[in-house]
């Protein structure tokens, strides 16, 4: 029994990604001594916090069979709101609430159109992306926000036991949502909705409420990621978070969440985010020309998924 249990772990996609990460870590530690340094690893964690936090929500959305390409602009919008309030001297607590609130409202709007308006998620969120970008320009009017007070920047820069505070928060969020997805009825309902909506409806799961819920959570998490962004960079520009959506989606998909819905884990997405992060980090350390970064990331994406496919075939025969 334990034997088959172990084999099952080996069969998981998360394991492939973990294997690749280990491989790269070994490779980079052997080729550059700087890789395993505390400061570098801490950097890596700092850089990943925003992606990882949003990936939690994105994992849930993709498990329901949906997608959200507006996550980058949601992050941007929340950081504009947070930045404006911070510079205006409001209390950090209020700022935290309003960043979360901004994301939540956007997520609820997306979720409402998808769940109650029957509009496909890709359309709603593509539209939302353009609308939010437009509003961000309008709010900032081309003036970037700088001069963020130092109090809030602890979230982005502070460390506790040598690990960035943002990463602690990420770890707590990941632990909570992993628990939520595996042990709470609503968490399981998310899988059910993605795996077989018809069956879910018949067994009395409220499809609309579940859909609304995942988009709202993703919105709120992206809002929080926006705050972390502000706290980290100390600057809010008009194009904050552009291109971020593909980064998050790539991490989630690489981590084994099926874009057809019904399958995936948050840990997997975290590993996916790590894989991309390590590749980028390693390439700088090895001083591989910056232009070929995309080449390496792309080839690795294909490779890691291909390993899975080949292994699945091997098992079948």
């Amino acid at each position: 029994m334990t034997n088959t249990g172990f084999r099952k772990v080996l069969r998981r996609r998360e394991f492939t990604v973990l294997g690749l990460i280990v491989l790269l870590v070994v490779l980079f530690s052997l080729t550059t001594e700087r890789f395993m340094s505390v400061s570098n690893l801490s950097n890596l964690l700092l850089q990943l916090a925003g992606t990882a936090i949003s990936a939690i929500g994105m994992t849930m959305v993709i498990i329901t069979g949906g997608i959200d390409v507006s996550v980058g602009s949601t992050l941007g919008m929340a950081s504009v709101v947070a930045g404006k309030l911070l510079v205006g001297g409001y209390s950090p607590f209020l700022v935290l609430l309003s960043a979360l609130g901004t994301g939540l409202v956007i997520g609820l709007f997306n979720g409402t159109l998808i769940a109650f308006g029957n509009v496909p998620p890709i359309i709603v969120t593509l539209g939302m992306m353009s609308i939010l970008r437009s509003l961000m320009y309008q709010l900032l009017g081309g003036r970037w926000i700088s001069g963020i007070p130092p109090a809030i920047r602890v979230i982005g820069l502070g460390k506790w036991l040598g690990v960035p505070i943002s990463m602690w928060i990420t770890v707590v969020l990941i632990a909570f949502f992993t628990y939520f997805l595996s042990s709470r009825p609503l968490g399981r309902a998310i899988y059910a909705v993605g795996n077989n909506p018809e069956a879910a409806r018949v067994s009395g799961i409220d499809l609309r409420r579940t859909t609304l819920f995942v988009y709202a959570v993703l919105g709120a998490l992206a809002g929080f990621a926006g705050l972390v962004y502000v706290a980290r960079t100390g600057i809010v520009q008009t194009n904050t978070g552009s291109g971020f959506e593909l980064e998050v989606i790539a991490a989630v998909v690489l981590g084994g969440t099926s874009i057809l819905g019904g399958r995936g884990t948050i840990i997997g997405s975290l590993l996916g985010a790590f894989l991309v992060g390590i590749i980028k980090n390693g390439m700088v350390l090895l001083n591989v020309p910056a232009l070929s970064e995309g080449l390496v990331v792309g080839v690795l994406i294909i490779l890691s998924v291909m390993i899975d496919v080949i292994r699945a075939r091997g098992e079948r025969s």
Partner: protein, 328 residues
Amino acid sequence: MKRFAVVLFVVLAVLLLSVVMAEAKYRIAFVPKLIGIPYFNAMEEGGKKAAQDLDVEFIYTGPVTADVAKQIEIIDNLITQGVDAIAVAPNDPAAITPVLKKAKEKGILVMTSDTDGAQDVRDLFVNQALQNEIGYTVMDELAKAMNYEGEFAIVSCGPTAWNLNIWIAYELERLAQYPKMKLVTIRYAEEDVQMAINVMLDLINAFPNLKGVIGQCSTSAPGVAEAIEQAGKSGQIVATGLSVPSMMAKYVKSGTVKSFVLWNPIDLGYLTVWAAKYLLDGNQFEDGKEYEVPGIETKPKYIAKDKMLVLGPPKVFDASNIDQYMFF
């Protein structure tokens, strides 16, 4: 049929009206590389001020990302609107040529500003400073801050930004004068502060002997400075580059940045509109002459062989003067 006739009539009436209205004032358009960044906002501000002073209409419109194709489309639509002068900060100096040619054929005054392009078509290039002087100055400032020795890196923005690449080329040319300095790598961080921070943090780890860094554009310069402070390397690594004072002041004051380079973009915007009005009024510039332009602090000089009006030498900002320029 009747309704169609009515619609047609209304359309013609509106058309006619707009033509009549257009005659009233010069309509001068400025198309930046992209809108929504502080640098071009400052140029817009200058342009608006000039429009008020000179009693012309100022149109400021551009793409939301530094997209060549979109910029061309916008210029084409300005031609359709029938403006009197178009000034462009082209995203691609060659790509802009056909549409500017078309504008010129329609009798529109065609200029470039901030970045040159379409040299054989445009009537004037309003230049902030000479390309080589910018590159040299940045390199000199870095060398001075690094005490003329050690390893340094360049963090640029879009890998394809034409003028950034030209400046890098001149920086490298100037590097020959500083034999004890060594460029270790050039990295790109798009127009994104966070990415610049990430890239710089990685660089600090990758190159333990790093002594200096150039932030090649207005987002990467504050980004690299921020990264140095976050890594606690302030004092060991110096940053310089090209950026706006409002974003750099913090790092100048903390000493991470000794000095950085730019010009006054408000003046550049003002000069662009002023020059357009000057030419539309039928005046000609004279070679080598320095012009007294009310409202700007330098004396722009005209170079006839390049049909170029130069705002002045690049400006170096440091702790001594930055407070006067915090408005852009």
